[in-house]
């Protein structure tokens, strides 16, 4: 991806993220976060992770943020009025954030691993067809030979082949979460 696009989307992600942190109105923050997720999805795309990008939009920006908005509307949360700024918290938060960012920049800049680039490590699609072993399903190999990356299919294969059990557990987790939410949201019935 041309560097310009990268910087553009990175700027979107970080800019809207900053808006989340500093926004007054909760609805503003929620919408800013949704936009930040969109930018993040674009970054995923630039990394050839198509499936993940779509999932990000669908689930995160589409479901989670909407849920957030629902709750904000439900609780009718007003803008934070001009209350006194929580100065110690703000200062410490900013300080920590700056320190952490500096550290990460320093680390990321120095490891040799971080010098790789997409050009430097191209995907070898055609050769991969012969090497993927168990995943050599007809659909996948056809796509590979055609020079496309069957991203969803490969993720699907990995999930169901290697992480089948984990998938079941995740399903159970979702069930439990659903039940939990229902139970937690019940209003207390006063005893007759």
């Amino acid at each position: 991806m041309p560097p310009l696009l990268f910087y553009f989307f990175a700027l979107i992600t970080l800019g809207f993220g900053f808006l989340v942190v500093t926004g007054r109105n909760p609805v503003t923050c929620a919408l800013a976060l949704a936009a930040s997720f969109v930018g993040l999805a674009a970054l995923f795309l630039s990394l050839d992770a198509y499936f993940i990008a779509v999932i990000q939009i669908l689930v995160y920006a589409g479901a989670v943020m909407v849920l957030f908005l629902f709750i904000i509307m439900l609780l009718d949360i007003k803008t934070e009025e001009g209350k006194k700024l929580n100065l110690p918290a703000i200062v410490s938060g900013v300080l920590l954030a700056v320190l952490l960012a500096l550290q990460i920049i320093a680390v990321a800049g120095s490891t040799p691993l971080a010098q790789k680039s997409t050009q430097g490590s191209p995907l070898a699609l055609a050769d991969a067809a012969g090497k993927i072993g168990k995943a050599a399903l007809p659909t996948i190999t056809n796509d590979l030979k055609a020079g496309e990356l069957p991203d969803a299919k490969l993720i699907g294969f990995t999930l169901f082949d290697q992480y089948g059990f984990h998938l079941q557990v995740i399903g159970l987790l979702l069930l439990v979460g659903t039940i939990g939410v229902v139970v937690l949201s019940k209003r207390e019935r006063s005893a007759p």
């Binding site: 918290a89 410490s92 938060g93 920590l96 952490l100 550290q103 320093a106």
Partner: protein, 629 residues
């Protein structure tokens, strides 16, 4: 076998009464009296048992057996213990019988008789003890029984104070006793068996010419053990508890504070006479204190108005006699003279023996008077009792005569002569003169007592209406009167193992001195007190007991309170503060500080989390590689 019966029967009687007095009620009294009678019979049987020279000490019970330390309950049956046992059980039995009448109207009879049984048990233990540790155990038990009995009417504030005073003063003496025992324990390699100690002193590691011998050590041990006798036998300066102990019922005074418990000190001193003979310094001090106590008490007795107080001071004085005799005999032996004859008696033990009878008689007689005068104890409120209570009068008179030492007729004469002889033989003229003066004073105050209480006209209504006491109370009086006269005769003394000093021609000086003292004292008292209605002589110093109680109170207030204040301050600063409060404060502060880390504040936690991550990343990425990992 006899010893076990004598020792354990009162113990079980006391135990039964303790556990079942609610159910037993009246029967408790009978249990106690019955046990005393049976013990007496057993003691009489014991008198007939021959002496076993080689195996005197018989083990009854290995009480404590810890490593190299042994404390046993064993009995030493020899002449001295058999004689003393007879006195204790005989007078004990008589007092039990007397109490049946005297305590008839009392509410807490079971408690009284239970304590009496406990006392008999403890006293027997002291008499029969074969080693010093056992003696100490029973020594303390006797102190406890005395506390219980003096404080029998504890609802009365003066009685509660008195029993506390008795116990505390005894404790001071016991402390010295314990130190003495420990000294001997250490010196004799852990063995305080009386026979073994005697051997150690005569031919073992503690004899005078042994390599490790130290005169100071022997004197210290002797004096510490003597402290025990000072406490128990109420010598100066621990004499203050005995007069106050008269707050107890009169039978208690008769048994404990006249005949047996206070004599335990003298008994113990005679038991460890080998120790006293080993140290000249100790012997002199003992004799001196004994003589001083005798004189002091006699002076105080001349001005007392309570009949029991007079008798109490008289007891103090006679105890001083006995202690002085112990010291004097030791001095005599140290000067190279042996005690005479194949069966050497001991003047102190002999005087103890005769004194027990007539002093108990006097106390029981005073009990009868008090009972008849409706618990009135002031002699100036009595009078003319001679006509109303004849038997009591005659027995009391016999007892008085014995105490004063009526020449040749009464037993008291022979024993007092023995004491005066010992004082004379010791070679110290101060001792002899002090003892003679005390004899004079004894005659004086006893005659005063008899004249004021029995002669003249009745001074109050209750004295006017006094009648003779019931038979159960008269019987012991008569029996004791017989003993007061005849106990010094050989016919009585030998079977009763009385340790009577062998008959030697009496020193003329001693004989003259005793007869003269008797005459002057009696004459003076008759002259001063005949027909008087109130005391013509008024010496405040004697009447107020030389202000000893007040002096002690001041000393306690000045010394003890100051000392207590200092110790409290030290304790608050060091023990309490440094060791208890300082760590507590430190921990509390640290805890409070640490608690702030867990403020329950969500964002605080996140902050800590973030800073932790930053710190770790910094260390791992930037610091460790530089250090070579």
């Amino acid at each position: 076998m006899h010893a076990s019966i004598i020792l354990l029967l009162p113990f079980f009687s006391a135990l039964v009464i303790l556990l079942g007095h609610r159910q037993l009620k009246g029967a408790a009294v009978l249990i106690s009296v019955g046990s005393s009678v049976i013990s007496f019979i057993a003691c009489v049987a014991l008198l007939a048992v021959a002496d076993d020279k080689d195996n005197n000490i018989k083990l009854l019970l290995p009480f404590l057996d810890v490593g190299h330390f042994h404390a046993n309950i064993d009995v030493l049956i020899d002449k001295q213990s058999r004689g003393m046992m007879f006195i204790v059980s005989f007078i004990g039995m008589l007092v039990h019988l007397f109490s049946l009448g005297y305590m008839k109207d009392d509410d807490a009879k079971p408690r009284f008789f239970g304590s009496l049984s406990l006392f008999m048990f403890s006293m027997t233990g002291i008499v029969l003890a074969g080693n010093l540790i056992m003696m100490f155990i029973f020594w303390e038990l006797v102190g406890l029984s005395s506390y219980l009995l003096i404080g029998h009417w504890y609802q009365k504030a003066s009685a509660a104070e008195a029993c506390k005073k008795a116990f505390l003063t005894n404790r001071i003496g016991d402390f010295g006793f314990m130190i003495g025992i420990l000294l001997l324990f250490g010196a004799n390699g852990g063995n305080v068996n009386l026979d073994d100690l005697a051997t150690a002193f005569s031919s073992g590691p503690l004899r005078p010419d042994a390599p490790g011998y130290s005169a100071g050590f022997t004197a210290a041990a002797a004096l510490c053990i003597f402290l025990g006798a000072v406490g128990k036998s109420a010598q100066f300066p621990l004499h203050v508890w005995l007069p106050d102990a008269m707050e107890g019922p009169t039978p208690v005074s008769a048994l404990i504070h006249a005949a047996t418990m206070v004599a335990a000190g003298v008994y113990m001193l005679v038991r460890v006479s080998f120790l006293i003979e080993a140290s000249p310094l100790a012997a002199e001090i003992i004799a001196g204190i004994g003589c001083f106590t005798a004189l002091l008490a006699a002076l105080m007795a001349t001005q007392q108005n309570d009949i029991k107080r007079v008798l109490a001071y008289s007891t103090l004085s006679q105890l001083g006699y006995m202690v002085m005799a112990v010291g004097a005999v030791a001095m005599h032996v140290q000067h190279g003279h042996e005690l005479h004859g194949p069966n050497p008696g001991h003047p102190a033990m002999f005087h103890l023996y005769t004194h027990a009878f007539f002093k108990a008689l006097l106390f029981l007689g005073s009990g009868a008077i008090i009972y008849a005068c409706h618990h009135e104890q002031d002699i100036w409120k009595m009078g003319g009792l001679r006509k109303h209570m004849p038997v009591t009068f005659y027995t009391f008179a016999i007892g008085t005569a014995a105490l004063m030492g009526l020449p040749y007729i009464t037993s008291g004469f022979y024993s007092k002569e023995g004491v005066l002889g010992a004082a004379y033989d010791s070679g110290c003229s101060i001792l002899f003169h002090g003892t003679a003066l005390t004899a004079l004073l004894t005659s004086f105050y006893m005659t005063r007592l008899v004249i004021v209480a029995f002669f003249g006209k009745p001074r109050t209504e209750s004295a006017h209406h006094a009648t003779e006491v019931p038979m159960i109370m008269l019987l012991p009086l008569v029996v004791l009167a017989v003993f007061s006269i005849f106990s010094a005769w050989d016919g009585f003394a030998t079977p009763l193992q009385a340790l009577k000093p062998a008959h030697e021609p009496p020193h003329d000086t001693v004989l003259a001195a005793s007869i003269l003292a008797f005459l002057i004292g009696t004459g003076g008292a008759i002259y001063l007190y005949r027909g008087k209605d109130k005391d013509p002589v008024n010496i405040k110093l004697f009447a107020n007991k030389f202000y000893f109680d007040e002096i002690y109170a001041v000393i306690i207030r000045i010394c003890q309170d100051r000392l207590a204040w200092i110790v409290t301050a030290l304790e608050r600063i060091f023990v309490d503060g440094l060791i208890a409060r300082l760590p507590t404060a430190i921990v509390a502060r640290l805890g409070a500080a640490t608690r702030m880390l867990q403020g329950g504040h969500l964002q605080g936690y996140t902050f800590l989390l973030g800073s932790g991550v930053i710190a770790v990343v910094y260390l791992v990425v930037f610091v460790l590689p530089r250090m070579g990992h």
